[in-house]
Amino acid sequence: MIRTENLHKSFGDNHVLKGVSAEFHAGKPNLIIGSSGAGKTVLLKLLIGLFRPSEGAVFYGDTNLFSLDDKDIRSIRMKVGMLFQGNALFDSMTVGENIRFPMDMFTRLSLKDKNRRVDECLEMVNMEGINDRYPSEVSGGMQKRVGIARAMVLEPKYLFCDEPNSGLDPQTSILIDELICDLTNRNNITTVINTHDMNSVMGIGDNILLLKNGKVAWTGDKSQVLESDNKVLEDFIFASPFLRRLREDALKQRQGG
């Protein structure tokens, strides 16, 4: 479990986060939602210590991440996988080498075993056979999936995904969601996902945290989304007239029945 306590973060006089306290549980996907610029990426980078908070703390279990020295932070990070919003694949390595890199760095497996694991991971994201291509030679959506494969290769205990399905077609996007969900359940991972994809929210939103103006505006799960009368949530989720109508119909039906 990861817990944040009163997290503040400013860049100069831009106060991005103004006191975020939240819990992210193991074994189910935790979603951070919010409009563009709400601070989702900043929060995710704080969770893993790429930024230091101006105030507040992040706890992994009982350990405060920011009280650790570099060496202990690294030992936590070896249990972390992360998909960056811009993928961050190493562009001078092939796809296969990208996925193999964490194993090269931290395991003593033989090359054959490592390559077998690379194939396994690529298969997991439905991308088998592209080992020898460079990231610039595959599409954006494929890069995203390679990014997920690389994040999963060492079987992390914590998984952070920054918009795993932005730029993917609806079908693939659902596939990716299911994949992340499945891995999370199976390996009891603490997974934190940034998204503004409504399909994801309604599909895998077991623990949803809505950010607005640097604060937590709402928390709950997908079943509570439709019924909540939280104004911010309503504005965010039902921004499109189509969804708004869908919801009104649903509410009407419920009242009628």
């Binding site: 570099d70 690294r74 070896m78 996988g81 992360m82 960056f84 190493f90 562009d91």
Partner: protein, 248 residues
Amino acid sequence: MLIDTFLYNFGQYILLLKSAIAKPERFSMYYKETVRQMDAIGVGSVFIVLLISVFIGMVTAVQFADQLGDSFIPSYYIGYIVRDITIIEMAPTITCLVLAGKVGSNLAAEIGGMRQKEHIDAMEIMGVNTAAYLIMPKVIAAVLVIPLLVAISAFVSIIGGYLATVLPGSISHTEYVLGLRSFFVPRYVFIMFVKAGVFAFLLTSVSCYFGYYVKGGSIELGEASTSAVVVSNVLILLFDFIIALLLT
């Protein structure tokens, strides 16, 4: 203001070096990276070093020959002077100034690009000590390879001096060689290697520093690359002076 920036950068540079000195996560990965860098820095720079060295030797020889003119100094001194000046000063200093331009800007741009594209963050997340992995192999490779380049440079410069004076007939083959073999001080070769090693360390570590902390976009990347070269060059000349004071 200026002093502020200097102290800030100096402190950050020292801290970066401190975290770069660490036990490798996986020795073979560091080894592979070091060999790759030795190839890039060493083999990749041989041609340019050969080229400038010939000219260094030719210029030194021709100008000293002119200064000798009709004086009473015997003309075999040309060989002697070319040998000592290239070994003690020209080969290490000019080679490293040129390498700061070639290798330094390259390293700053490479590491800076990785910073901007979040590659460094991605490695940090995996638990890699990026300061160590990205900097140590480059510094080690440079400190091993650049002294060799400098030795080659000194050798080729001496040949350059020969070409520029013996071929046109200013002095004879025998005189030049006699000069080369006169008054040899082995300590000068030692000084050459000390300079080469120190300059190699400076130019790689400083360039890596400027790349590692780059922010913003392509303009800042260009600026970092320029700063890497300018600061390396200034430091090389400063330490040239310090080493000269200490060792001669």
